[in-house]
Subunit: 514 residues, 2 copies
């Protein structure tokens, strides 16, 4: 007689309970990772890269461009300042960061149900950032406007997989350069109730962003709570400028979060090797992160990295290639060792259109992003053409695919229901599982599925017009915009905000000088 085991009872009820738990888990306004991150390097390898970053900071140091105040701050905190060059004794930046930078922080949304926890073991998906162009199947490619910006806020708001409204969803080039930020930040506030990013193109615009959230949340609230996360890119290699570091200073002073991100096109702004780019990234990021802690100890800060490979034929940046994936795994591990949240990856591509190239390259970036354990995933949706274009259809397709993230990082369910032994032992050889109690109990939550994917038969697909994924995505964003309903915003707050913006806008002339 075959051996008997006696551990399985009540599969049906247990199954339904487990299914409900899963549903609740995925209803959180961010993702909680339960699988281990993928570690590409050993502890020894990571230590080598950390040593190299320390050597870079000590020997070459960081150039601080047109920001004498920052030089003073660095010097008074123990750095060696010669002219505009700041060198750091080995270990100094790491010690400062580890002493006060939080490993996790809450970014509050105006709708508390949408506040996100940024840091391990969580993951927050954020739309693409910074494109001057937009593209959709109707208009092709054209310069972005504030109308596009509002559309994209609405699409991010309506996309369950996007936890964040993002920042510069596109550059509204129909507005003056020095006043766009008012309309961008206001659009995030008005058309969404998800958390968002502020302006970093000039410290005064960072201050405007802070002043606007003071009106929205109240001045006292924001001194205690973080309601903005903003992006500051280094001028790689090894340089920080006044616009970015000055903006970082404003945010840090106000207890708002800054994402400190070296942006390295390997071969141009850094060496062509992964270990080299990782060491340079760590050096540049540690200098920036330490600066925020010097400005205000405890201010939330994210260790960011953007690193792409390059076409050795044309010098063009390339995406979805293996080297940036290795870089992501490495940087995420460095961030965990430093003890700060990590931003990297997204759905990146060099393709001009939402075709197979775009999807291959995006997924080849996005899956390593998920397995790296990144906490803040900028560029999760919409990115085309190396970031020059925000694609409407690409946004929908990416956001749809990003919906898989919670299931992937939830890992393998080893509960009794997950093991499904009752089902297997009672369904005989050659029988099917379609009608079993276990299948029916788990049916609704068992498998994630992309809404824009067509898994029907060829015949059904043909009957429905032989559409490709981009055509389905096109229909979807049109429908989403037509179905859009704004989240409620207090009339008084809205009035005060718009009035304040009007006053600020009329207090200085329009300019298109950045």
């Amino acid at each position: 007689m075959p051996e008997q085991t006696g551990r399985r009872r009540g599969g049906g009820r247990e199954a339904r309970r487990a299914a409900r738990t899963r549903e609740t888990a995925t209803a959180l306004p961010y993702i909680t990772r339960r699988v281990p991150p993928y570690e590409v390097l050993s502890e020894e390898g990571l230590t080598t890269i950390e040593d190299n970053a320390d050597a870079i900071l000590a020997e070459v140091g960081i150039e601080i461009v047109e920001f004498p105040e920052a030089l003073g701050i660095f010097e008074s905190n123990g750095a060696d300042v010669q002219g505009t060059r700041v060198r750091f004794p080995r270990g100094m930046c790491r010690e400062i960061i580890q002493a006060t930078a939080p490993s996790r922080y809450t970014q509050h949304a105006r709708n508390p149900a949408r506040s996100v926890e940024i840091g391990d073991p969580n993951m927050v998906m954020v739309p693409a950032y910074g494109s001057p162009f937009v593209r959709n199947l109707e208009d092709g490619r054209r310069y972005a406007t504030i109308d596009d910006f509002r559309n994209l806020v609405k699409l991010a708001y309506a996309s369950p997989s996007m936890h964040h409204s993002g920042g510069t969803l596109c550059e509204p080039v129909d507005l003056p350069v020095n006043k766009r930020h008012f309309d961008m930040v206001y659009s995030h506030i008005k058309y969404s109730d998800k958390p968002f990013m502020g302006s970093v193109t000039n410290p005064s615009r960072a201050q405007d962003s802070v002043d606007m959230v003071k009106i929205l949340f109240g001045e006292e609230f924001i001194q205690e709570h973080t309601v903005i996360t903003s992006l500051a890119n280094a001028n790689s290699p090894l340089s920080w400028d006044h616009a970015m570091l000055g903006s970082a200073k404003i945010y840090a002073e106000n207890n708002q979060a800054v994402l400190i991100a070296p942006f390295i096109l390997a071969g141009a702004m850094g060496p062509v090797t992964t270990a080299g780019v990782a060491a340079q990234t760590l050096a540049e990021a540690m200098a920036g992160m330490a600066f925020t802690q010097m400005v205000r100890p405890g201010a939330p800060v994210i260790f960011g990295s953007f690193a792409s490979s390059m076409s050795m034929q044309s010098g063009a940046p390339t995406f979805g290639t293996p080297e940036p994936a290795l870089m992501m795994f490495t940087v995420a591990a460095l961030a965990r060792r430093l003890g700060v949240p990590c931003r990297l990856g997204g759905n990146l591509t060099a393709s001009k259109i939402p075709d197979a190239q775009a999807a291959y390259e995006s997924a080849t970036t996005f899956i390593p992003t998920l397995l790296s354990g990144a906490n803040f995933v900028l560029h999760s949706a919409g990115w085309l053409e190396g970031g020059l274009t925000m694609g409407y259809e690409k946004f929908i397709l990416d956001a749809d695919m990003a919906g898989m993230a919670p299931s992937l990082v939830a890992g393998v369910d080893l509960s009794e229901n997950g093991q499904a032994m009752d089902a297997i032992l009672t369904t005989g050889p050659g029988q099917h599982y379609l009608g079993t109690e276990h299948t029916l109990a788990n049916f609704e939550t068992a498998f994630w599925r992309a809404d824009t994917s067509d898994s029907n038969s060829f015949e059904q697909w043909e009957l429905e017009g032989s559409k490709d994924a981009a055509a389905r995505a096109h229909e979807r964003w049109r429908q989403m915009l037509s179905d859009y309903e704004p989240p409620p915003l207090d009339d008084d707050v809205d009035h005060r905000l718009t009035q304040w913006i009007e006053e600020r806008k009329s207090s200085f002339p329009d300019s298109d000088v950045a």
Copy 2:
């Protein structure tokens, strides 16, 4: 003064040497993985699944359909046989497999430079298998013919990322069902010199495949060497039939390799949970693998798994979803613990065409495949429509993307050249790396790039006709077929093969009964 380190010298020469080493490494006819596999489950979790597989084999067992001889073989090796049901005492299958199944084997190609090593730490990329339809941009979707089959052998031969010619690249439905295998195996031999797969639709066709390689390699050679790897799918759940297991027996008897692969559409042929499907897969595969070792101890065998999720709306299989990715990580770990090579994954999709859906789903399968550490990756190129269609353009795009695999699994180079510290310390802040000695020395091998990806500027892309990836892939396969030159085949061997086939074909009537 900043601290000085003294470990870096001769970056240029070292760099060039490292670059040459990398080139040689990627010129091997298979991939060697240097990164650790991604482990989604702890040892405890894997043990739970192994225990469950043992329980399934002991309590329910496996149904052996229309193959009394196999029942006798199982019984004489210690299994409990009641009618057509075979139950296995706990641990029996594992012990038999671990006693004699090789952890790695060489599959010899007729060109020795193309022989592959199947097993850790290697990875072998193999085209898609089994589609009755083909699709290309010229003809759309239609039934496949032997001409298509030959074209696909030629394309696999001409694709550097494909290490293997595969098996049923498409079903040549213009030929009688009971004689197709002659033309398929002959096409692999004639139009390629890469390793290939044999027929499994009937034990007599497996024997024909073996007889053909006896002519090609010589009878003595094949008794000592493995020259065929063939695919045997279980009839999930928990059933093996005469066609597949009988074919496996023929191959094992002749020291040829069999890929033992449960094919589970979760929710139909197995439960809807990953842990459940993994236990069922392990049970079915262990029964099949143990059978090959009973037939001939030491015969090469691969632990395979094909598991897809399902649309809960339509019941259609879905691909590129997170649940099969978790399944892949789990099964690869189970295979490592069992000590046999592992097959899973590929570039799978439910899309009917090579659009963004196809690419998202394929890459979302393929990247986890690579990180799982799978050794034999069937369906690496061409798969469309859940396997019903082999796409010419999809083949090119997949094969191109598969070209990233060696760089990804090579991991991070931590050599002196990889650390690039000379380059970083001598290139100052704000300077670029385009002309540095380190960049020039590593330029050619630094970054992998897909040939069918367009990373040029928008303007350049527009000038070149605004093509999508599928259009570029179309041009590419047309060019590859037009450039194709067959590898030399000994005239006498060719003559004996064709004569033998003619004799065999005329010895029994055509039939389209499978």
